[in-house]
């Protein structure tokens, strides 16, 4: 760490064992390049059995977590970094745990007064024990119209299906359960699909970057549409009227606060024909690849990705320092103090 509180040497974590390993490796490389371009010395590393020893031998000023899915987003890796006394950019473990679990995040943002499509969360066991067709019939009665089926935890639209007819539901459920034991089934909201990234400045005030509008050429923003350059048209800023754009930004900021996130996050929304933004999900470790939405928003807003990442890391370092001084209960560093 430099005397002015900046960061000199950081570790970017990427890879992991989740379904999104490949995406994460690309995010990690992009973040590392961006940080190097603003003069930060960067190590890149996978998350494996050697991580803690590496942190002990080469303690970085802070860690940037470019892991997607599983332990990288559910708070587990952050919990371990807390134990190791290493500061990291982004939300704390407990906030990640709630934000990463889509039904929990939806319940919290609804409680905070935001719109989110009606949903049901059902584990595979429920279908097995109560009979799939009985449960699905009730579900279709309760939430009519097109539905979205997706794993309760996960990203990159893996395991996601948009269901237009009830007879497509069983296949969508089987597809979803291959990626996880619990499914989130929510009402499909038609409208303009946008992603709003929220970044905090050095003083901690949250700012929404320009909304990115997503128009997949094949209609569905699935894995191929996300990671094949040219398969999706993007518009930055989104083609929303001023009021809808303001409310989309406000919803992303409100979700960021309601879920107790920090430094940076990305909220995925649909703005319906009335201009109402509907919260779909939030990402505590947003994608940073060449086709990802946060870097696109940063570019659209005239912001440098390296600077954004560095600011997040500087905030992490500052937090680490103040925690070391105040000595929070349970922290490794406090125990040594």
């Amino acid at each position: 760490m430099t005397a002015d509180g900046g960061v000199r040497r950081v570790l970017v974590l990427a890879g992991g064992l989740s379904f999104e390993r490949d995406v994460s490796l690309r995010s990690g490389r992009r973040v590392a390049e961006a940080l190097r371009s603003v003069g930060v010395e960067v190590d890149e590393r996978d998350v494996d059995a050697g991580l803690l020893a590496h942190l002990a031998e080469h303690p970085p000023d802070a860690v940037f977590i470019a892991l997607h899915g599983g332990p990288g987003e559910d708070g587990a890796v952050r919990g371990v970094l807390d134990l190791a006394g290493v500061p990291y950019a982004g939300a704390a473990p407990h906030a990640c745990r709630m934000a990463f679990d889509k039904p929990t995040a939806k319940a919290l943002v609804r409680a905070a007064g935001l719109h989110t499509p009606d949903w049901v969360t059902l584990p595979h066991e429920t279908f097995r024990e109560l009979g799939a067709h009985a449960v699905l019939d009730r579900l279709v009665e309760r939430i009519p119209g097109p539905l979205v089926v997706k794993p309760a935890r996960g990203g990159s639209a893996l395991g996601m299906t948009v269901v237009h007819r009830a007879d497509q539901l069983p296949a969508a459920m089987v597809h979803c359960f291959a990626y996880g034991d619990t499914a989130l089934i929510e009402r499909f909201v038609a409208g303009t699909e946008v992603a709003v990234s929220v970044v905090e400045d050095a003083g901690g005030s949250a700012e929404a970057l320009p909304a990115v509008e997503i128009v997949p050429k094949d209609g569905v923003f699935d894995y191929a549409a996300r990671y094949t350059a040219g398969a999706t048209d993007y518009h930055v800023p989104a083609r929303l009227d001023a009021e809808a754009a303001r409310s989309a930004a406000a919803v992303a900021g409100a979700a960021h606060r309601a879920l107790g996130l920090r430094d940076l996050s990305r909220t995925d929304l649909v703005v319906d024909s009335d201009g109402t933004p509907w919260f779909l999900e939030v990402n505590v470790s947003p994608g940073m690849t060449e086709t990802s939405l946060l870097p696109m928003a940063a570019a659209g807003g005239g912001r440098d990705l390296g600077e954004l990442c560095r600011t997040a890391l500087e905030r992490a370092v500052a937090r680490g320092r103040s925690e070391a001084e105040s000595g929070p209960a349970g922290s490794h560093r406090a125990g040594q103090a």
């Binding site: 890879g15 490949d22 490796l25 990671y227 094949t228 040219g230 518009h235 659209g300």
Partner: protein
């Protein structure tokens, strides 16, 4: 307002790039390289079995004594000394050939590319076994050739079915440019073309005027018997033969070859020069020195014993753990066994569950150009040691059981997943 164009070249790509998109299934394989995962996916030779110290000394001496030649451009057809040795290698499978008719290529994958390039216009038909090597299907797709599959059974390609298919295509007025076949220890099917069928297949092909493209990377890796005569050993006409040092020596060198009739060979050399100027002198000289100075046939025996032990491990483990309704082939050589899952299961749809269960395989859909093969998967036993293979099969059996349970919950209405096929070219370590 501004549209963001992530690919400003989008309108300019050739039609043959269609299908070259990101794929969730392909991305899942990223996890397969982690040590926590038992990968039964990749067809990687067990290079650790090579005497690496001897190879290292040999390469050092080669650079010291022949560096200027090794690091210089070479001939488009490949080094004459290596082509002579290749003829000796082929004689082990009964082939009598002249070094003049051999073209050295950057792995036999480049040979596939060159042969397809000189024969196939868009829309031409290539007849291939069902299933077929995924790397060949990618090559055919990149030249916009249409693949028509012909069924196989335990004795390999079915000659009567080949006959019917060729007759039907002729009636439809479609041009068959060649039959692509892997007669020995087939990738992915794990079966070999029986000896009686070899002559039948050649006779059918000759009757329909169809050229045969014989791809034989595994011929010397039989566990139980001496090598069978290649198709090319049975006739000098109408067969283009592809060989490789990837399995008998090392795939990292990328040295393969094609043996073709004289007129075809001329075009292959010109096509190769247009593509890569010449195959690398360096790796050709490494292979030539290896063949000349090392007990390479003894090393092939070492490889065979390694793979035989692993084949036994996977067959035993599958018999012990796989649920009723699963079947698989019993390879007598090579790297692969081909598994048919219990009814209703789709190997592509099941792959995420397998990755969570820390085991990987290649879904069968990758090996068909027509979208079939959902119930199949390829398991490779060449790379993991036997105890890891047993652990991998145990994990995979648990994954299949869970998938059966989910399918049972939702019933036949659940159908099969639409994303089973690997549409993009396979990553090199899976081919």
């Amino acid at each position: 307002m501004s549209g963001v164009d992530l690919d400003p070249y989008g309108e300019r790509y050739a039609a043959r790039t269609r299908g070259m998109t990101a794929s969730a299934i392909r991305a899942l394989f990223a996890v397969a390289n982690r040590p926590e995962v038992v990968s039964l996916a990749g067809g990687m030779p067990y290079i650790e079995a090579l005497p690496l110290e001897a190879v290292s000394d040999m390469v050092a001496a080669m650079v010291r004594d022949h560096g200027p030649a090794a690091l210089q451009y070479g001939s488009g057809q490949g080094l004459p000394a290596l082509r002579e040795m290749i003829c000796e290698v082929m004689s082990l499978e009964g082939i009598a050939a002249s070094p003049d008719d051999v073209v050295v290529t950057v792995g036999s994958q480049q040979a596939l590319d060159l042969v397809t390039r000189i024969f196939c216009d868009p829309g031409d038909v290539v007849v291939a076994e069902a299933p077929s090597y995924v790397g060949a299907l990618s090559t055919f797709a990149s030249y916009q050739a249409q693949v028509v599959h012909v069924p196989m059974d335990e004795a390999g390609l079915v000659p009567a079915a080949l006959d019917e298919t060729c007759a039907r295509l002729a009636r439809e007025g479609r041009t068959v440019k060649f039959l692509y076949t892997v007669p020995n220890f087939h990738n992915p099917a794990g079966v070999s073309l029986s000896v009686p069928r070899r002559d039948e297949v050649l006779a059918v092909a000759a009757r329909h005027g169809v050229l045969v493209l014989e791809d034989n990377p595994y011929g010397l890796l039989g566990f139980d018997a001496e090598p069978v005569h290649a198709l090319r050993a049975r006739t000098g006409d109408g067969v283009i033969y592809l060989g490789s040092f990837s399995k008998t020596f090392a795939p990292g060198l990328r040295v393969g070859w094609v043996l073709a009739p004289h007129s075809v060979r001329e075009k292959l050399v010109l096509a190769a020069e247009a593509s890569v100027l010449c195959p690398p002198n360096f790796t050709q000289m490494v292979v030539a020195d290896y063949l000349r100075t090392q007990p390479w046939q003894q090393q092939v025996k070492v490889y065979r014993e390694v793979y035989r032990e692993r084949r036994d491990a996977i067959l035993d483990a599958m018999a012990q753990h796989f649920p009723a309704g699963s079947t698989w082939t019993r390879p007598a050589g090579g790297f692969y066994t081909w598994v048919t899952l219990p009814e209703g299961l789709d190997a592509g749809a099941m792959l995420p569950r397998a990755v969570q269960g820390r085991v990987a395989y290649v879904p069968g859909g990758a090996f068909y150009a027509d979208g079939s093969g959902g119930s199949k998967m390829r398991l490779s036993y060449c790379y993991p040691p036997p105890d890891r293979i047993r652990e991998g099969v145990r994990r995979l059996a648990a994954v299949i059981d869970e998938e059966l349970e989910v399918r049972a919950t939702f019933g036949p209405a659940a159908g099969t997943s639409g994303d089973a096929a690997v549409t993009a070219p396979a990553p090199p370590d899976l081919a």
